[in-house]
């Protein structure tokens, strides 16, 4: 997990939600409920299941990669030629659930990694903001 995050570029959204994990899980996994907050879809919570999210601007090609009821759900997310993985994590809290969504781009290919590339994206992006600021 740590190694993965070190080699990828991620978008993370995390929110404390005043509802139990079981209820959120239904909203994340039942197609008619997913359609209400995300997109129309033919989702089934079974690892290996291929499905699409569709919207007026196009479609997202997905495949379920991990399902652990009420805890975690992952699917690949392919749109506009970009491959990424979306992972939902549900953690029970005193007031409901801590819901976390992480979308990771640039899946690591360790076979091609070499000394010097190991530090991966965090350092790269730490430097990047400074570099971009200079470029502007």
């Amino acid at each position: 997990m740590t190694e993965d995050s070190a080699e990828t570029l991620s978008v993370i959204v995390e929110r404390e939600i005043p509802h139990p994990p079981e209820k959120i899980w239904r909203a994340l996994t039942q197609p008619h409920l997913i359609a209400e907050w995300l997109m129309k879809n033919d989702f089934t919570p079974v690892a290996g299941h291929r499905f699409k999210f569709t919207a007026d601007w196009g479609a997202v090609d997905c495949e379920v990669t991990a399902v652990e009821p009420h805890r975690t759900l992952s699917y690949s997310w392919g749109a506009f030629g970009l491959a990424s993985i979306v992972t939902w994590t549900l953690t029970p809290s005193s007031t409901g659930t801590l819901l976390r969504m992480e979308q990771s781009g640039f899946p690591a290919d360790q076979r091609q990694a070499y000394q010097g590339a190991k530090a991966g994206w965090p350092r790269f992006f730490a430097n990047l903001e400074r570099v971009l600021a200079q470029a502007e």
């Binding site: 978008v11 909203a27 491959a83 979308q103 091609q112 971009l132």
Partner: protein
Amino acid sequence: MPYSPDQLFKTLADPTRRAIFERLCRDGEQTVAALTARAGVSQPAVSKHLGVLKQAGLVLDRHEGRQTHYSAQAAALAPLIDWTREMTGFWQSRFDDLEDLLKRMDQ
């Protein structure tokens, strides 16, 4: 929907290529020979990676005698920053809609 920086993604998805680019960002202009000495892959492989980086607008080449010097064009990375910003906005608003839905759902 988010801007599509697909060529940048494909170009930088390769760790070796990304490391070459990173080195140019960090250490400034370099020759192919200097990059090869540190890359752990052959000079033709490094040249090929530089060609792909150049196509994506991430490096510039400058010829001087028999040597070619490469430099990073960090501003070409802006679409990646846009991607993370736009996807963050996309998911934030999906979370808002999810919360609305949860309020309407039965236990």
